[in-house]
Symmetry: C2
Subunit: 186 residues, 2 copies
Amino acid sequence: MARYQAGIRTEERILEATRELLGEVGLEGTTLKAICDRAGVRAGSFYNLFESKDDAVMQVVKDAIRAVDPHPDKDVPDSLRELIEAFILFITGQPEVARVYLKIAISGATNGSLGDQIIGHHQRRVARFAAAIGREHPEMDEEAAVARAEIILAALSGLAFMWMIQPGFDYASRARLVSQSSLAPE
Amino acid sequence: MARYQAGIRTEERILEATRELLGEVGLEGTTLKAICDRAGVRAGSFYNLFESKDDAVMQVVKDAIRAVDPHPDKDVPDSLRELIEAFILFITGQPEVARVYLKIAISGATNGSLGDQIIGHHQRRVARFAAAIGREHPEMDEEAAVARAEIILAALSGLAFMWMIQPGFDYASRARLVSQSSLAPE
DNA sequence: CCAAACTTAGAGCATTCACTCAAAATAGAG
DNA sequence: CTCTATTTTGAGTGAATGCTCTAAGTTTGG
């Protein structure tokens, strides 16, 4: 299954087109035709490289998350502060991709693989936050750490929600308040 | 424009069908055909009574909000605690309609009238929360009251988000913690 | 019972969507 | 250069979608 250069470049063009469209016109406007038009490709080529439209969208979302992941190589444990900063960067750095993420997550897992994958990612994120909290507060039992992780993520998500509705909302600084208050002793 | 009884009953059946469908299959599954099938009505009748599909969805969402509104008659000012309880009731009482609300809000106002209306409603809600806070804390200036209202709504929304992703999440009690902490002096 | 107003039916329209497929074109290894 | 594997094309499919329109039917007030 040796790839040719042409195919690899086409794949990149398609992902770039998908990323741009998600940013410009949201998930609704990111149709297959729109992706193909922008990438300068016909539908057949798209399906030679991707399983489905959702496949391409999911890759873009995953890339965006990965781009701000503090330690994509899994061996280094991350601090809560780093994780929170990564979340802030994810929301502020690619707001429209983040919007898609939240939207799909809210839509639930009934919609098929896209929702399933994002919810799965979210739950792994909760676990990662909880692990960091557990590491920094050894006196806390696991249940309490998970509860705190959920609250922190709820706050970060809720602030993101407000920001997306009210463009003037100062997301980053409010989110850092969450960081401070959550890092303080109970 | 005197209404006949038949038309009024049909309108109610359509709204009931829409409400049920939003709860059972979400916004995606609530198609015109599904609504009409369940209401036992043809498309023509639907459009005799509603401007568009979004019109019917919007009425359902508005009704749900209104049903838990502490003081629909505007003269009585509401307390912050009442407003928070109303929000909790909105989320827990009709979770799937609330899901639709959050989803449309996140989708933004570019999607047309549905998004516009929900964002408008949201902003009125912020103002109402801020007014209640201002009433209960006369020493606080207006800007601070608005900021606090935004944070409270962000927390409530974020918790709702978590609940929708993790069904085991105990929304009501966590949300009441927001209530307590936000009612405490600064 | 009449007539005007309102309601309903239901076929059908125009559009959009994600996706398929067989054949032509091209790239790359030997 | 040749031969094979990969890539690209682009018309086409079938299934949805929201919505329209006209003719027929029903309700209501007088």
